[in-house]
Every structure is written in structure tokens, then in C-alpha cells.
Amino acid sequence: MLQLEDVTVRFGGHTTALEGVSLRVADGEIVCVLGPSGSGKSTLLRVVAGLQDADAGRVLLAGRDLAGVPAHKRGVGLMFQDHQLFPQRDVAGNVAFGLRMHGSGRAETEGRVAELLRLVGLPDAGHRAVAALSGGEQQRVALARALAPRPRLLMLDEPLGQLDRGLRERLVVELRALFHRLGTTALAVTHDHGEAFALADRVVIMREGRIAQAGGPLEVWQRPADAFVARFLGFDNLVPATVRGERAETAWGTVPVPAGTPQGERLLLVRPHGVRLRPAGEGLECTVEARTFRGGDGSTVTVLLRPRQGPALEAACTLREAPGEGSGAWVDFDPREVVALPPQDVPAAG
């Protein structure tokens, strides 16, 4: 459906927002672009929407080059970050806007508006003022408005960014189910990896205008491509290592690695769940610097450990087994939660 080929965007001639980005979105696929703010993900959407000209590269929609096609003729939908509902129109007026622009008749428009408002769960809100809507309702109206003209591709810029957590978690599930039911091809951007993993069929992680990694959510989660992706996903247990067979020599001592791990100089990632607390005297000796209660079903506690040698370690454990702050702790490593990353750009511990 959508294809980007080496798209580059520079602002003011020097700052580069996108650098040679290539990306494909298949028909009916939900792709989520994930990255910290300033990584160029919103610019990517604006280029596809035709609100920003690319300095180089091509954007193709259903095989057609979009160069020179103005935004209003591209047939793509965009849900803006803060919705951008038209304040002077009521809910129905907002949803009907795109239909009117495409010249559909009054009866057809009314029918479609009603259909969409039912779809997003606001069947009776047609005459309400948008200023009177809650954040979640505004988000639904924005979605209905974007879907109404049946765009070939729907793009969402931080679709759930301003909503509170509970609502966000519920809506992301609803969105995914809805898109799959309607067969919508969707390209979303977000800085929240939880949102991206829950929503997307495929995740694209961006860093400073380039694609750092692309793949299925599980794949990206399990095998981050590099230290940047790992850290962005919240993994901070990184240490340079030398892998020999199924063992790696690190500042933390010898760490077991899964079979088939690439050999030689690597950067080793140990997920917090792979740092196991041991009885006193067994394994790596650490001091507990901080513990953070995360709640959730497992009553998870994150413990920040300062090992006798090597960078700090984060361990996840249950509340019951969590050691107190300032006390000593001994840990070893679960090879199933250990990933070897390429050795380049070893980041400073932090």
C-alpha cells in the first residue's frame, strides 16, 4: 500500500529530520513508528500526508508516486496529535467534514456520520460541541472524522498521547480490533513502546531521522538491534562482553548465554527478569541502591543494584523476595534473558 524510498527531509538546510528512510506498509497492516521526541517520526507522517515536502526520495501510495500531489488529493487520513477538531463545528459537523469535501450527498453523509459515531461508541453525540467533550471522547471523534472519507491509509500521530493510562490501555486494544475488523491500513507514531507493541503488527524504531530497527513487536522486544533500541525499550543492563561458546566474560564476571549466540566481542543485554537473586555468598555480590514498587499482578519490584564491579544492574523480582535498600544481595544470570548485541557504539553507563 505505502512505500517510502530513501526519503530525506532537512529543515533550514542543515537540521536533518529524516535521513534516507525506506519503509513499506502492506495492505491491511498496522505499522507503528516508535522513537523518542525529535527522532523524525512526526515528520515522516507529514511527508506522507503531503504537509511537508521531502528533499529527496519517493513516497508511493498503491504504486503511485505522490510527488506533487497536494495533501487534499492524497486520499490519506491523519489523526493529529492533539486531535485538531474544528472548534466551531459540533461532533457531527467534524465527522462530516471530510465527506463534504469529497462531495458526498446529504443523506449519504448523515448515514455515514451516524455509522461512524456508532462505531466509535458515541452514537448520540452528534450535536454536542467539541469543546464539551472529554479527552477520550475527542479522541474517538477525531478517529471517526479521519475514518469517515474511507482513506486508503490512516495515519495516527501519538493517537493516545494525552489520555490517562487506563483509558489508553483500553483504547489501544479497541483500536487494534477496529482496524483489523475494517481492514484499515494504518501507520501510527508514538513514543510509548507499550502502546506500539499493543497496537502494531510491525514496529519501526527511529533514531535521529533514521530507522534503527524494524520488525514484529515480539521480535523487536526479544532481540533489540543495538544498544540504542535496547535502552529506548527500557533495558539498561548493558555490558561489554567477550563471548566464547555459551559463556561470556564481562565486568560482572562470567555470564551464561543461549546456544547459538554470535561469538567474540559483543555488547551483552540482560533483561531485569534474567537477574536472579541468590542466597548470600552465591554469584555476584551487589549493594541495593534503590527499590521501586511497580504494582501490577505480579507485585513486581525493580531493584537497582550496584555490583562489586561493572555497571549498575536492574533486577525484577516479587515484593516478597525483594531485598531492602542498603542491604547486600547476590545474583546470577538466566541465559534465556540474555541477548548479545553488536559491539559498536558502546554507550556510557547511565
Binding site: A49, G50, L51, D53, P70, H72, L78, A92
Partner: protein
Amino acid sequence: MPGRRGTWARLGLMAGPVVFFAVFFGYPVAAIVGRGLHEDGRWQWGRFGEVLGDPDILRVLWFTVWQAAASTALTLAVALPGAWVFARLDFPGKRLLRAVVTVPFVLPTVVAGSAFLALAGRGGVLDEWFGVRLDTSVWAILLAHVFFNYAVVVRTVGGFWAQLDPRQEEAARMLGAGRLAAWRRVTLPALAPSLGAAALIVYLFTFTSFGVIQVLGGPRYATLEVEIYRQTEALLQLPTAAVLTLVQFAAVAVLLAVHARSVRRRESALRLVPAEQTAHRPAGAGQWTVLAGVLTVVALLLVAPLAVLVQRAFQGPDGWSLAWFRALGRESASGTFAVPPVEAIGNSLSYAAAATGIALLIGVSAAAALTLPGSRRGTGRAARAGRLVRGFDALLMLPLGTSAVTVGFGFLIALDEPPLDLRSSWILVPLAQALVGVPFVIRTMVPVLRSVDVRLREAAAVLGASPLRAWREVDLPLVRRAVLVSAGFAFAVSLGEFGATVFIARPDAPTLPVAVARMLGRAGEAHYGQAMALSTILMLVCAGVLLALERVRTPGQGEF
């Protein structure tokens, strides 16, 4: 849309206003200058030195400059509390009060001058009661200028103020700013563009003040405008008038350049909220005091002169009567008019309606051209576009600062022969009035258009709206109120326009202000009484228009 298409759209929108100004402003002014300075087949540049070396002319120049500055400062000081009251307070009769405040602005200057004379001049109300006379000092002129321009500040600043989000100020308070500091650091900077616009308009109006000075200035005080009129009409010194016109032009150009510079530094996209959400009932002694103070000022400065005017209209030769009004329906025995004076009402209304249409067409497309996306910042092509836009902006403001007398006189001598012979055309008067009205439309529209969120337009574009359609669907509804306000301004200015119209209105089709002026120009109680009666009618028409305008304001949310 970025890029070339945007440039073409801008040029297209600019074309109408540019042609309009070239033909109906540039050409007449050039004709005056040509006639004044071009003689015996060559340019007489030496006249500049002769005219500007004259100590009398220098005195006129100095007076013009300082009285305009004093009037502007006084108007801002007196009217800012009023702007706050209109923006933030809600009280019964607010709508009526708003119209009352605006009436003076649209009154013919000569009539307002007379009203002040009747109030504070010899034999005036203040003289009768307290023995106080202001007509011998410059204070009468300054107060009359405040009387006229109070509405400019209240409407441009207050209208914008009403749409500023009060929570901005609250946020500053929460960050530790005192009440005054919050206002000074948050609200005042946000108001700056509209304050600047209002101050500029007031300064230009008072700089080119004509009618007020004619009536209240006596032989002692004269502005450039009065001097230009005197030189052309009384002394038939066309060359001197041409030099003075050029001097006035230069002064106005400098003012506009200064304004353009300051605007560039101040521009910012503000978050506007619906005006009706920001006003509240007065609370606390402080707010009631301000409200009472504003009402007192309005009563003394704006209502009292008008009350005197009405009183004179109804005071017949033998006490209270409608004698002067009845006399308006009859053809004048003394031959002041070829038609009954009452016909001036119909003339004025239809001229003003046509002028408003023209002013809106020209002004709105100009404002749209000025605020198209990409008209600010940037490098290369964008910077060139920015300079183009600023030049265009200044061009549009020129008629505001140029004397109406010049415009009228220019029309008279330039548009009476081929290629453009409009001498006998009905449209001549509306064209001149529209020229005066366009800057109002632009000044009112631009700040509001600029503050429309670009992303709303983008949202419309992504939903399939072409740039033009997006403007119509997104900008226009948001700025409908500004359109109505500017239409009202243009209409009112056209109704009250005097300096230009007096030159070109046909004797058998006078407008209200022209009729009033002719009445005042004749001796005798009957003429004075009829002038007051006509002025009262004009005042009522203006008040009616403004009340209607208040009523059709954007009803707010939920509008489809």
C-alpha cells in the same frame, strides 16, 4: 501549502488589492503631485525648500506631531480600563454600552467638533454651569480626539483581550507572579500586537485630524491636513498643498515602517478562546470601582457631548419641538440643496453599503494574502516572500495615514477624464469611502487570521479540502466575528466619511456628513438646528447598525 503553489495563491490574492490601490489611490495622488510640482515642463523641486523653510508651516508640523502623540497617549490611558471592562466583565447593558462607545467614532468630525463646542465652548453647558471653557486651549482638541478614538482602543484591544485565555494569567500567578506582574508579563505581551495596532490607528487619525481641528482649533491650531485643505480650497496654492501632501506621506511611511518592524518582533500564535467564556460578573470592590470609573468616563466624555447634540436638535425656535426635523423634508428656500436634505439618509446608506462590500472584498483578500502559511520567517524564497508581504502590508496602510482631503481632491482631478472618467458615476463615492475603510478591515482581520492554528488547516487539507476550501471552512468560520466587526467598521467609517466625500459627492446626492457640513457652513439658527437634527439621525442610524452588529455576533459553539 508550502512552495510555489503558495506563492501563486498569495500573488493572486494580492492582485485585487494592488490594482485597486494603484488605480484609486496611487493614480489620484500622482495626479495631485504632478499638478502641484510639475510646471512649465519641468519639476519644481525647489518648492520643498520654500515651503519647509516657512516658520508658519514648521509650526503646523510641530503641532501636528505633538498633539497626535498626546492624543494617542491620552486615549490609551483613558480607554485601556474600558477595554478590560469590555473584555473581562459581564454586566447588564454591556451590548448597548459597546454601541454607545462606538458611535462617536463614526460621527462626522465636524459634528462631533460642534458637539464639543456646545459642551465646552463659549456659551456651552460647562460655561453656563461652571464658567469653564476649554475651546481656548488644546485640551478641547485632545479630549475630542479621545472621544473619537476611545472605540478604536476598546474594540481592537478589548475584542482581542476577550479571546485571550485567562488561564495564562492564572498559570503565571501560580508560578509566583503578583497580580500586576502576571498582567504585565503575560497579558500585556499578548496584547501588544493589538495595542500597537490601536495606537498606530489612533496616532494616524489624530495626525491627519481635520474636522475637529477646523472647529475647535480656531486660528491658533492647525494640523497638516487642515493646512493642506486651506492651501487648496482657500488659498488655491496647489504647489504648497502638494509639498505638504508629500511631507505627510513621508511621515506616514516612516510610522508604518516602525510599526512593521515592531510587528515582526511581536508576532506569535496565541491560543484564542471564545470571548463569551472569559467574561464574568464583577467581583470585589476593585472591579466594581474600575467598572464605575469606566462608566463615568463614558458618561462625561462620550455621552454628554452627544446628549447636548440631541438637545440642540430638539430645541426649536420656541422651546422643545420637531421643527428642525420637519424642515429636513422640505427643499431649502435658500438653495443649500437641490433636493430635500432628508434624501441624504438614503444616499448615505446605499453608498456605505457599496463601500462596505468593496472594502470587505479588497480587505479580506489582502488579509488572507498577508497571513497565508509561510508568510513569516524562513530563508531564501521564503524570506523574499516575507519582504514582499511586509511591503504589501505597508502599502495597504497608506490610505489610512494619508489625508482624506488628498484622496477626495485626487479623485476629483484624476478620475474626471479618460481613461477613467467616473465623474458622473455613482460608484465614485463608495470607491473613495472603501479606500478609507480597507485598512480597518485589514487591521481587524490580520491579528485574528494569524492566530488560527495552522494545524487546523492541515487537518482540513488531509480530509480533502483544497487550500481555498480549507480557508473558507476553517479560517472563515473562526474569524466570522472579525469579518462582521470589520464590516461594521467599514460601514460606519463610510457613513461618517467627510474629507474625501465632500469633494466628490454630487450636489443632488449629498451624504449625511456633507449635508451637515453644508448646513453648518450657513449662518442662522435654522441651519444649525437642521444640522443638529441630521446629525442626530446619523447618530441613530450608526447606533442601529452597531446594535445589529452586536446581535449577529457568532453565536458560539455548536454551529454547523
